[in-house]
Structure formats: structure tokens, C-alpha cells
Symmetry: C2
Subunit: 266 residues, 2 copies
């Protein structure tokens, strides 16, 4: 019955994951008082956006001794649902999808996580979704025990986690509206607009979008089939709203109108 909704494997697509360099101590987040301390974290490009942003130099120094970075190849799992949740993860580069499966293989993606985002939703000590790399991805693995330690000592970190949880709740409500009430056209438009807002710093009317994931991932994120996603993108193209140089690179030509469509306003 749901054959075409079966879980699909990752598109092992090149997504330009740049390697995280430990040997480039250009700390532009906070001046290291003692550059001899320069730890992996010191040169971390996502530190300003990540939960560890609030640590001072000494704390960061200890932090960096306890975390470690992992390269997760496209399609491989960072963790799986029901595994014991011992770590949190910050995405350093690349992109991760959070997936939940039904017994017969139907799949729903609940989020894509990219640079600076925090992963590791758990309940009673177990992860609640599969977290899989969409493309080659680097994550920073943070033992939960370490987090707990800092959470008490470093209010900024607890606050940061709380804020991220609130944002995530907000995103999920937003996504529930999409899944439950939007048309395919509105779903795809929302997806594209959200990507622009997440990645494109300059909110011009014309914006380039890189899709690290394949159509199957988009479909499972939006609660559609691959075919409907494809047809809808073609439709947006025919409406003159989109250029499609190739399946993984889109250019939005009129993001204002796309935004209106996303909200069901036309």
C-alpha cells in the first residue's frame, strides 16, 4: 500500500562540507588571553552560534579536551532512535536530518540541522529519532555529563540550551501547520523560504538555495511524495518564480511572492 513511501536512502550528494581545521587558530569569537591554550574550539567556525558560545577561555579549554569531532559520511547515522542518549552534538558543517519511522517504512523527517544547530533530543535517556547525515557532515560530540556539569556552573549555557529548545518548539509548531493544513505548493514554497531565511544572510529578492538533500528527503519532510515535490518545483519554475540550474541548486527570483504563497496569501 505504501510502497512508494518506504524509507529512502540518503542521496550521497556532494555538499561542499569543508573540513574543520584544527590548525587555524583564528579565534574571532573571543580573544584568547593565552594563545598557547589554543584548543580545537578556539578556531571553531560555529562557536558563536553554538551552545558553547558562553564559555570563557578556561572553561572552553576544558570543554575542548572532552568533546571530539566526528566526520559522518553521507547517509550514515549520527545516532539512532532508542539508543542510549549519552551525547549532544553540534553540527559543524554539512547537514543532518531527523527521521522517525513507522513500522512499514513510512518516514517523516522533523528537521534538518545545519552548522551551529544542536542535536540530541532525548527522553528518559534515549534518543527519539534517527539522526542521519544528509551529506558528509562534521559534528562536535559533547558528552551529556559534561553539559550537566556546565549547566549548573555556566548559566549562559543553560540559557542557550533553553533558548534552542524554545526555538525548536516554535519550528515544530510551524511545521505542524505546514503538514496539517498547507497545500503542496505552499509546503514547497515554505520550505524554500525557510531555507533562504536560514542560510541567506542578505534578504534580497533573488536568492540562491543549495539543497544538500534529495527529493525523497524533501518529500518526507513535507509529507508529500517525490513526484509531487518534483511537479511542484516545476510548477514554481513555470510560474517564473524559480530557476533550476540543477536539482540541488535553485534560484528564487521573487522571494516576496514566494513568501506570500508560503502563507497561503495567493
Amino acid at each position: 500500500m505504501f510502497d512508494s513511501l518506504k524509507a529512502r536512502d540518503a542521496a550521497p550528494t556532494e555538499c561542499g562540507a569543508q573540513i574543520f581545521r584544527f590548525d587555524r587558530p583564528e579565534n574571532n569569537i573571543r580573544t584568547a588571553r593565552n594563545s598557547a591554550l589554543a584548543s580545537p574550539c578556539a578556531s571553531c567556525k560555529v562557536r558563536s552560534k553554538a551552545v558553547c558560545a558562553g564559555l570563557n577561555d578556561e572553561e572552553m579549554e576544558e570543554f575542548s579536551r572532552n568533546i571530539h569531532t566526528r566526520l559522518v559520511k553521507a547517509g550514515k547515522a549520527v545516532y539512532r532512535e532508542s539508543e542510549a542518549a549519552d551525547n549532544l552534538f553540534t553540527v559543524v558543517s554539512g547537514e543532518v536530518r531527523l527521521a522517525n519511522l513507522l513500522g512499514d517504512g513510512r518516514r517523516q523527517l522533523t528537521a534538518f540541522k545545519s552548522a551551529g544547530d544542536l542535536l540530541g533530543e532525548n527522553k528518559k535517556g534515549f534518543y527519539q529519532s534517527d539522526a542521519e547525515a544528509v551529506c558528509d557532515t562534521i559534528v562536535c560530540q559533547i558528552p551529556l555529563s559534561l553539559m550537566e556539569k556546565y549547566s549548573n556552573d555556566v548559566p549562559a549555557m543553560y540559557a542557550s540550551i533553553a533558548t534552542k529548545a524554545q526555538e525548536e518548539l516554535c519550528e515544530l509548531r510551524h511545521h505542524a501547520v505546514l503538514l496539517g493544513r498547507k497545500t503542496p505548493l505552499e509546503k514547497v514554497a515554505t520550505f524554500l523560504v525557510d531555507r533562504i531565511d536560514k542560510f541567506d544572510s542578505k534578504p534580497e529578492n533573488q536568492a540562491a538555495i543549495e539543497l544538500t538533500m534529495g527529493r525523497g528527503d524533501v518529500a518526507d519532510f513535507l509529507g508529500l511524495t517525490i513526484e509531487t515535490v518534483s511537479r511542484t518545483i516545476t510548477k514554481l519554475k513555470n510560474m517564473g518564480l524559480l530557476l533550476v540550474p540543477n536539482p540541488h541548486h535553485l534560484v528564487v527570483r521573487n522571494s516576496a511572492r514566494l513568501r506570500r504563497i508560503a502563507e497561503g496569501e495567493e
Copy 2:
């Protein structure tokens, strides 16, 4: 186009909201050392489940001077989206729906909150949904400033809020799977099973379910139309899984099978 999806008003249904009595100091949660202190909180029936559970007698005493309880009539708002978020709320009795609207009136409910649940999701100081009483409901209004004060002093309270946030995230992911990938039959079955798990302490095979909300609310929660919800309930009735004494009271006759249906296993 979406006329039949327009936001529907509350069913002003009687839901047996029992009035919260201040004058009955039967503190079965924690023995009040000094019964002269007996505050409204002392007799609160939901305290063991609520965020204030971790307060000691003195803290609770101060707490009770700063909170106040409000009766919200069926259909009225506890708060509205985009209002300044100055308070959190604990549901004392009754039930609240969280609603998000699209410009043209389409509506998605993201949660029903009942006794002991915490309300007041906000982002950057503003509520993110409409919170409306499904039936006559009593809420305990807690100034956010008070929460912040206790959050620093009373780790248990911060932990309790964090736990509730995690649970909420978990529920929303669960709901995303439902909205994006389940059939109407599975959606309704899931809704019923979740209600049993939430309200029915004894997990017998036969369980009574009270629906405080009308079919419109159920439809907007499940991403369906009223008609489909109604037909699906009839279908479950015809399958021998359900008795429907009246629209607001259902009896599940085989919850094990209902559970299997909910997970798409048959």
C-alpha cells in the same frame, strides 16, 4: 477554496470542570509544617504534576502570593499569538487548545493541554500560538519574572521546565509523523490511544474516553475535516472497536488492536 477549513469556534461543551477550592486544605502532596501557612497551593490538586512541585513550604508560600488562578470560560482565550508573553500557566482543570492560524482561516491545533500541563510557549517575549479554553477551564497564572527568580534558586524547577520542554518536543515530533504520514484511520486511532495514555490510569483493554472538544477541534488537531473525523469514528465503531454513547464519550473496546492500528500495523 478552504471554506470548510475556516477556523471554527469552540464547542461550549460542559466538561465537568470542577471548581478549584481554596478552602479545602487537604495537602496530600507535602505536609505543611505550619498549617497556618496553608496557601491556595497547599490544596492544589495538580501540584505534584506541575512545575511548582519542587518548591519547599516557604518557597511555595511566596509562590502562592504571586500567582493567581483564573477561570477561563469555554472558547475564551488564555492568551493570543503575538501578545507579550508575561506569564506561564499551569492548567488546574479543564482543557486548553493551542492553535495556529493561516491568513485565510485555516487552523492547526498543535496540542491539547490538561490538568498539570504547562502553557506559555514564547519566543523573544511573544506567545507563539493562541491558547483557548476548550471547556470551562481553570489556570494558574505564574508571572515569568517569578519563574526566573525560582529558576536560579530552585534547580528542581528549572529541571522540571526543561523536562517538560523535552516532552513537548517529543510529542510534537510524534504529531508530525501523524500529520505527515498517517492515514485518517491511524490518525484517529492515535488520538484516542494518546488520550487513554494521558487520562486513563488503568491500562485495561476497555477504556472510557471523554472528549471535551468538538469534532472541529479534533479535525484541526489531526489535519482532517470534520466529516472525515466523523466517518472515521463511525468506521471504528463498525469495526467493533468503539462504543459511542454520545459524541463526547467514547468507550474503546479493544485498545490493544486500536494501538496496532495507530502504528499502522494492520
